[in-house]
Each structure stands twice: as structure tokens, then as C-alpha cells.
Symmetry: C2
Subunit: 398 residues, 2 copies
């Protein structure tokens, strides 16, 4: 890992791409809402998308094109282009067609992602008319604008960049993301874009990206709702490469660090959240059970409200483990808050209340649930459930 180094800033570290962000006025004035990632050379792309059957037009478009050589990703905020039917898909395609002409590239080499209000058609003319300005504005430096341009109710922009060294040279990887909380006034969305100058063939890239998303973006939960627009895409130059297996390993390590960090930033900024808590399931019967139990605990409203209230309510945790569907033997189950056991081999434990309170009052701690019956483990990141979550999600009127 010593060859992997954190960089300041984000996308602007990866010099083989250009970026642009613009105030198009899609739904609100004076707000960066239209942005672009561009590579003059073709890229391999890999993506992970929402599995929601109500899926947005840009997700349909991406699924169709993700295996093509990719030159660009067009992104808009404030309108999800979801539940917009055929017209919505035509609009998305039209925009990529126009952009293709401006950039002199195939429209099929352009992906698109959207976030914002559901059930409203994109203001297509306004967006089309602004594409030339977007293209004109492209620069490496503008990468710094993109994390802000994709935000909805996120309270801070989310970006991360790393450099890493392999036997073939020095490389960079950078990524941006926006909040996972489903956000009023809109259906919100998890968007994540990662770029690297390290060439990785499509089928390897897809495998590695999927694996890293599985333990990062797919291992966080804020409200358990899955958006119509969730999109994570990675781009890598489609150049011949002579990487050794060790080189790929180093890239994979950097990719995992990248995705874990972006996932952490998203949970840190969950709607109304005051805490970022790791639910660590260990010694479960099998991998599926470890993940199921983690998800069940991480999504339990009772666990999340207890965390908000600094209540070490291990009963709620045991209960959520119990209904997760995972194999469980009560007399083998143990629960820890950081290193303090509250429930051990099926029995409550007397604990140092002061020491425990000092853990509960932290912004970040780990709840370990030891099933004691196998070798599988899985970690979820979750937020607490506060008054502000209800406030943010109740006070908007469509």
C-alpha cells in the first residue's frame, strides 16, 4: 500500500480527461447543474446501476452503451428524467447526439446520468442550447467544479484522488459522488464517477469495479430506499497495456480505497444524520448471511433511532439480526460497541456505563455482531435517524 498516496483535490488530478460544469438553469437559477467528463481518446467503461424496475431514462441509455468505447459522460442535476416514458429516453438520446456532433464523436460513445425531480421532462431546448458553452468551457482544472455540480441536498461536495505506482509507471485515480439519502424535494440518487489514467480492459474493469462497489456503495444504507437513478461509472483509457498481475493488484487496492472513501463521505453527509456507524458482522454462517444480517441491522429504524439517542440498545440489534433471515444460534451470539461486549454468547453482560457512554457519544464507532458459527464477515456503514431526517423529508410539498 506504500505506493498508494492520497492527493488533494479530485478529478483535476487525472490529466488525460477534461471537465466542464455550467449553470444551465434546468430547474433553479444560479446553480451548477450541467456537467461533462470528456476524454479525446476512447475509454473502457464499467458501470453499476440501480436495480429498481422504475429506472430512469439515462440509466437505460447507459446500460445500452456501457460496453462501447466511451468518450464522455454528460451529467445533470435537479431533474432525474425518471418516470418520463419514451419522451424521456428520446430527450436523453437527443442530448448525447447533439453533444457528439459538437465533440466530433459517436453519440453511442456518450453516457448520461441525471438526478433531481421525478416525473418532469428535461427542459430540452435550454439544455441543447447550452451544450456549446459546456464544450467550450472544458479544461482539466474544471474537474474541481464537478463534485459541486452533481449535488442535490448534499451539504458538502465529495471527491477523492490517489496516485499509485506500478511496474509500468505512475498513475492517478480520482472520483466524485453525491448523497445517497433519498432527498426532498426530489427522488434523490447516488451518483458516482471515477476516472483513471491506468488502462484496464473492459471485462477486468467491470469485475473489479463491481467487487469494489459491492463492499462500498452497496454496503451503505441511509433509508433503505433505492433510487430510480443510482449510477456508478468508471472510465479507463482503452490503450494496450502490459500490466503484471501485481500491477492490477495495486490498481485494485487504489480502487477499493477510492470507493470506500466515497461511500464514507456519502454516509457522513446523510440527511439529518449525526453519526456514521460501522455495523461489522463476523463469524456468520456464510457470505450471504453476513451481508443480510448487516443490512437488516443497518436499516432497522429502531437501531438507527437508538443510535441517535445514544442508547446502547443491543436488544434491537439482536432482534434485527434475528429477523434478517441469517442463520443464528442465540447462545452463540455476541454484540460489542467498539471493544465493549454488551451481549456475550447469548447472555447480557454487565458493562462499564461511563466507558460505554464515551463510545456512544462519538460521531463514529463500530458495532460488532459476532454470530459465532462460521467464518464469513461483512461491514455496513450506516447513519442514525434523527428529527432532521423526518424534517427534511416531510416538509417539502410537491
Amino acid at each position: 500500500m506504500s505506493t498508494i498516496k492520497e492527493l488533494s483535490g479530485g478529478l483535476e488530478n487525472v490529466l488525460v480527461f477534461k471537465y466542464a460544469a455550467f449553470e444551465c438553469g434546468i430547474r433553479y437559477p444560479n446553480r451548477l447543474d450541467l456537467s461533462l467528463i470528456y476524454s479525446s481518446e476512447p475509454c473502457w467503461a464499467a458501470g453499476v446501476f440501480t436495480t429498481n424496475k422504475m429506472c430512469a431514462a439515462p440509466v437505460i441509455l447507459c446500460r445500452e452503451r456501457i460496453q462501447n468505447p466511451i468518450h464522455a459522460i454528460l451529467i445533470n442535476a435537479t431533474n432525474a428524467n425518471a418516470a418520463t416514458g419514451k419522451q424521456g429516453l428520446e430527450n436523453a438520446k437527443l442530448l448525447t447526439k447533439e453533444l457528439g456532433q459538437l465533440l466530433s464523436i459517436e453519440e453511442n460513445s456518450i453516457l448520461m446520468a441525471s438526478t433531481g425531480i421525478i416525473g418532469v421532462q428535461l427542459p430540452i431546448d435550454k439544455m441543447k442550447n447550452n451544450l456549446p458553452v459546456l464544450v467550450k468551457n472544458m479544461s482539466v482544472e474544471a474537474g474541481a467544479l464537478l463534485p459541486r455540480a452533481i449535488m442535490t441536498t448534499d451539504t458538502f461536495p465529495k471527491q477523492y484522488a490517489l496516485s499509485f505506482k506500478t511496474s509500468t509507471g505512475n498513475y492517478t485515480i480520482a472520483g466524485i459522488a453525491k448523497g445517497a439519502g433519498m432527498i426532498a424535494p426530489n427522488m434523490a440518487t447516488l451518483l458516482c464517477f471515477v476516472v483513471t489514467d491506468f488502462p484496464v480492459e473492459q471485462h477486468v474493469l467491470q469485475k473489479l469495479f463491481y467487487q469494489s462497489v459491492n463492499v462500498s456503495l452497496n454496503a451503505i444504507t441511509i433509508d433503505g430506499d433505492m433510487s430510480t437513478n443510482d449510477t456508478a461509472i468508471i472510465l479507463s483509457p482503452s490503450k494496450p497495456s502490459v500490466h503484471t498481475e501485481d500491477d492490477i493488484k495495486i490498481f485494485n487496492q487504489a480502487l477499493h480505497l477510492m470507493m470506500k472513501k466515497l461511500a464514507y463521505l456519502i454516509v457522513s453527509d446523510a440527511e439529518g444524520a449525526t453519526k456514521c456507524i460501522t455495523i461489522k458482522v463476523i463469524r456468520a454462517s456464510n457470505d450471504g448471511d453476513a451481508k443480510k444480517a448487516g443490512k437488516s441491522i443497518a436499516e432497522s429504524l429502531l437501531v438507527k433511532t437508538a443510535m441517535f439517542g445514544n442508547d446502547p440498545n443491543w436488544g434491537r440489534i439482536a432482534c434485527a439480526a434475528g429477523y434478517s433471515g441469517a442463520e443464528l444460534q442465540e447462545e452463540k451470539l455476541s454484540i460489542y460497541f467498539d471493544e465493549i461486549p454488551l451481549f456475550k454468547d447469548g447472555s447480557p453482560v454487565n458493562y462499564d456505563k461511563e466507558k460505554l457512554m464515551s463510545i456512544l457519544q462519538k460521531r463514529e464507532y463500530t458495532i460488532t455482531v459476532d454470530f459465532g458459527i462460521g467464518n464469513s464477515e461483512f461491514e455496513y456503514l450506516t447513519s442514525d435517524l434523527s428529527y432532521d431526517y423526518v424534517k427534511i423529508n416531510a416538509e417539502y410539498s410537491t
Copy 2:
């Protein structure tokens, strides 16, 4: 249905049973917390219990005994006897043994149910010492005390009683229930006890009871958490009977009305809730899909906070339908608030905002989600998610 009539009061209408409730001081003073349902003649019993793998001692006991001839149910509030291991099960058995001696009945003819704090052993001596008083206090009239004696943070007692007429005579059925919200400071529980003087053989009783629970207690959701103690039991005199098929139908109708009403009362009293909303899924592809979609919508935090905020956010409803796993064709999907369509055949509809607001501000309304692709339907009852839910569930410190 004209032969079925609503009665005032609850259990005390079913004269073949006796009841008792007592302030035993299990966890708090001056609170009814120990109660009894008793029949001098043996009864057929049927039960539906939590499927949580962390299940409480009394649930284990009930599962062992439910097919026996049953004389009594012993119920305690304020202590769940869950996560209490072997000692917990021994305690439950000891109490039923003592009670059996006092009543001169087999201990195996006594069921038990508990609700309250998890992970704490029952104060077994105190409870044992108070059983004679409980038995001495038995009367038909004391049935009126039981709905209050099983409450935890419920804000009102829940009971319902009906009379019905069949070809063999006049009968009554009565039931009590307590809140389904998982309640601070305890793991709470759905408890429900129904008694009737209409004799129904065990295997028929079990089938009908299961069916009615499936569309009532199993079709409500408050926070999606499933307790360690959920218990619903029905008792019916085990006497030879000569019911016609029509007689059984009338009983079944009364049973359904009973269970639907108790389910309604539970949701009406959900923690912090301001609304009681019916989620009606129609024209789904199959029965499993109708239920899955209903559950997904009824449990969505975003849907529940939107209801609290009087926000007609059909996008969140469509989204929850989309990730439910149910088959869905976006261009066939429609969503109504009472009779007003907001989304029709995959497209948003312009609606009368004033008329819609008058629906949203009601305490009770129906959201119909029409999948337009089949013939299956299912109804869920759900509550909204308010600041008070978070408050109730966060402010307790163990």
C-alpha cells in the same frame, strides 16, 4: 353479514371464559402487568407467532403446546423474557406449572405470552407468589381489564367484540391486542388474544386463523421491525359441534372483521403517528407480487415521511413499487390518492391541488397503486413517520 353485530366492550362478552388482571409489580409499581384468560372446559387453540430467530421463551413454550387441549393463557407485560436463554424458558415453564397446580389443570394446557424489556430474567418469585391472587380474582367481568393489562406504550386499550348467529345458535367472539410499534424502552411486541364460544376443531381453527392474520396483523407495518415476542392466539371450546359449511363461513366472516378491526386499532395507535393509511395494490401480476409491493410502499421511510408532511409524492411510491421485486411495467402503472389519479399509465397527471390537499389532510385515506398487468390485489395498513416516532424511540437510555 347482517347476522354479525358489534357489541360494546371486549372479552367480558364471551361468558364461557374467566379473566383476571393484577398489579404484580414486575418492573413498575401500580400498573396492571399480569393477566390470565381461563376456561374450565378444554379449548382448541391456534396461534401465529414471530418468525424472528431470536424468539422469546414464551413463544417457544407456545409452539410446543399449541396443539394440546388448552385451559389458560398467562400474560405478562413490562418484561419480554427474550434473550434470556435456558433460564428464561425454565422460568416460563415454572410459572405455568404453579398456575396449573392452583387451577388443577395440566401445565401443558397453559400457554404464556410476554412483552416488555429484553434480556432481563422475570422476577420469578414475585410472580409465583402473586399467582394465587390472580386465580382468586378471576371473573367474567375482569375481561374488561385485560386490554389495559397487556399495554406497553400504547396510548389506548384495544378491544373488539361481535355476536353472530348460525344455524346452531347465537355466539360471540372477542379480542384484545397491543401495539405493534417496537417501543422504547423495550423491544415491543404485537400481542393479540381472541376467544369465542363457537366450537371449531383445531385444524380448521388454525387454517382460518392463519388466513385472517395474513390479511390483518400481517398486513400492517409501523416500522418494519419484527419483534422477538409477536404472538396471536385464538381459543375455541373443544366441544363436538354440528356446524354446516355456512355456519363456518359466518364464523370466518366474524373472525375476519375481528382481526381487521384489531389491526386497524394497532395502526391507529402507532408510535407518534398522525395518520392511518391504506396502501391498496391492485391488478398486480400475482398474489406474491401484490403483497411484496404493498409491503415495500407501506414500509418506505420516504413514503411515510411524505404522508406526515402532506406531500403527494407519487414518485416515492412508484420508486418503492419499483424496488419491491414485483413485476412492473412503467407504462401500465397508475397511482391514486383516494379517487384522484396522480400518475396514470406511466405518465404524471395534472390534478386539482385543492381537492388533493383535502385528502392529504385527512387522518385516513387510501393510496391505490394499479399495476395494470394482472388480477391480484392486497391491502396494507400503514402509519406515517413523524418527529414523535424518532422522539419516542431515541430518547430512552437503557
